[in-house]
Symmetry: C2
């Protein structure tokens, strides 16, 4: 007699980003080159000083490191935040296994099973996995493409409160939308949390990636919210070092910090080699970040311009991170994404995109949207745009698309593009 | 208004292994050398081929690795198990962030919040952290020092069942007791799980560490239990590479495996540099393991002989791992452990031990026991034994110990030692 799996195991969602991977593998076996617009794996090199630090590593025993992180890494973190004008004690910072673990610690510490977390949708799809493990309900507040995915007004937040809401889970700059919230928006969320006694778990792993002179406002800078805020951070994107799995958690709430310490002790330590690599980040001046941001901004421009020229594609100009959500002139973006991998190629190449439905909690939303990541070089992005345009054309012909109810314009091939802000 | 932490955050236990660390730091500042018998951080070098593999690593982008592990690492795992006579498909194996994450995946997948797991106490203390996060109750089955901490008989297992028992969590060879379960014992647990439809989560991270010609029997070898067994493994101890945080999970249950894949996708990937290091393990022949085991067996002998000579100390000869639980002639082993760090030194040195109470779920048990790890060199172990003997003497004088109720012999200084088996 085989026992049944737990409910949470059965509810655990497959990654909408990775679930089409087998189709991509299959396409590759057929000799088709795939431009990956579906995942946020930057192609930029991990900075040389970090790789050199690893090459110089000579320890003979790869021993456990302290549960909260090595003193050297914590120091590096402290200096990094000081550079942002944020003063944090070493005992307000903690190394985690990627930003993922920091989110998990925060969710487990802030809410009980059966409690709710308010989250702006579309949201980073893996929040759903962490919430499922923690038994926490994600109550979505919908942000809309037409508003550039900026935050809904305070009234909407009040309306979304449930008796069991314990925290707000915010991602700024936002994955998947690329939206950078203004100071006023962040202040509004802070005031909402203060007024209702909610924790504010702020995922700021794309902090550096802001364009057109914008600034990301950390929740750590909100006055009067010191006890509420947990900031989730990661070195993955900042230093193009996704594979080392090193993130961090920052909070000024002593009790919450101590609870996270106890969870950290349970799993012994964060990856040690990653912490060695990370300490070399201090040698990277602001010019490193400027260079990276300039590169991504250029890529964004290429993609935005290119996609805006495809009939029926709608998006506002992305403001940060290296993702955006675009609406396509299709009914079922997942079907389209599959089509691109199974039925389409041009000059032995195609494009992989992430269907956006998995980034929404509200049923039905995002069905005609995709998340696009711009972590490829400019020429590759231009090629990907051309393939997307040709693919959409081929798809609409192949599916013999009837006009969409409520959105006939899309099927008429009308350009949905509206002028970009900022 | 500061919101309250979650219940699980408040219930999350501090590590009994690490909670006395501040006292140790303080002692070090006073210039006292500390022999660490409290933690399982081997002093052995990480094997040279693994360190060389890292030194040769030349990737320029430290990218995400596949959620289930790199193909190379999975291959290494498969070969390793094949060497043990265990045939596993690549899709029955998964890389995890240390054995810790494998235990977490297994617990979350096998039981709901409010369900129970049966566990033999004393047990690896961090099981409590993982169970608390998962909302799972640990129902203890007590093993006793007098029995060499071997498994209680089947009747005791039947008696410990609750309506919500979903799994058995077994650790073999055992941390903290150093007990290696016989084939019959493992078969008995397998039959119990089969008869009651329970998952069997088997933590076998000390598999290689068995002495006096013993053999560790993997739960993966139990016939008729293919759908029930999840084996937790780790490279930390096997290759003295605790800090890299690389473990693995093995199960032949397809559905369970897929649920773990979805959890793995949520956190993206296991540490990448660790997987690079790990693939070099294939170049280590059986002579590597033999050498390590010989070394640990010698250390065990030194400690066992030394401790057996201290009046009032009781233990049976440990059979595996590199820990054991010893009973001391004190009422409160935690008070004694603190005393050793705060009030005792001899030739500017002292010993740190882990109070065993935190390794039990039944209240009151283990109060006069400590877990001792033998991960130091022989000379250091001899010095530690001398310090423990002197420390016990000093402690009993300092505390002016009255005879213990129900165990007067202890306070009479009578040798509790009984001849060792095996």
């Amino acid at each position: 007699m085989t026992p049944p799996l737990s409910n949470r195991a059965r509810l655990m969602p497959a990654s909408p980003i990775r679930k089409l991977m087998p189709l991509a593998d299959e396409a590759r076996r057929r000799g088709v080159h795939i431009y990956h617009l579906n995942i946020g794996q930057p192609d930029l090199e991990t900075p040389a000083p970090m790789r050199e630090r690893l090459a110089q590593y000579r320890e003979r025993v790869y021993a456990y490191t302290p549960s909260v992180g090595t003193p050297e890494f914590l120091q590096t973190l402290q200096e990094y935040y000081r550079g942002l004008g944020l003063r944090l004690g070493l005992d307000e910072l903690m190394a985690t296994t990627g930003g993922s673990e920091a989110i998990q610690f925060a969710l487990f510490a802030c809410a009980n099973e059966g409690d709710d977390a308010l989250v702006v949708e579309p949201f980073y799809t893996n929040y759903r996995s962490f919430a499922t493990m923690a038994g926490i309900g994600l109550v979505p507040l919908t942000s809309r493409a037409e508003d550039g995915f900026h935050l809904p007004p305070r009234e909407a937040w009040e309306g979304a409160l449930t008796p069991r809401t314990r925290l707000v889970l915010l991602c700024n700059p936002n994955n998947p939308t690329g939206t950078v919230y203004s100071r006023d928006e962040v202040e509004m969320v802070g005031a909402f949390c203060r007024d209702h006694g909610l924790f504010l778990v702020s995922d700021e792993v794309y902090r550096e990636f802001v364009y057109d002179g914008r600034e990301a406002h950390s929740a750590l800078s909100l006055s009067g919210c010191e006890e509420l805020v947990v900031v989730v951070d990661s070195l993955s994107k900042r230093y193009s070092a996704c594979g080392i799995r090193l993130g961090s958690l920052a909070t000024r709430n002593r009790e919450l910090y101590q609870a996270c310490v106890r969870m950290a002790q349970g799993r012994l330590s964060a990856p040690g080699l990653a912490q060695v690599v990370a300490t070399a980040a201090t040698s990277l001046g602001p010019e490193y970040t400027r260079g990276v941001v300039t590169e991504y901004q250029r890529r964004r421009d290429v993609l935005f311009e290119g996609l805006s020229g495809i009939p029926g594609v709608f998006l506002r100009k992305p403001e940060g991170a290296f993702y955006f959500v675009a609406r396509l002139p299709v009914r079922d973006a997942e079907d389209f994404a599959r089509f691109m991998l199974t039925d389409f190629q041009q000059d032995a190449a195609t494009v992989m995109v992430a269907p956006a439905q998995g980034f929404y909690a509200s049923p039905g939303l995002g069905a005609n949207e995709v998340r696009i990541a711009y972590v490829l070089k400019e020429d590759d992005l231009r090629a990907a745009v051309a393939l997307l345009a040709a693919g959409l054309d081929a798809y609409r012909k192949a599916r013999d698309l009837a006009p969409l109810p409520g959105a006939p314009a899309v099927d008429e091939g009308v350009d949905f593009h509206v002028p970009a802000e900022g």
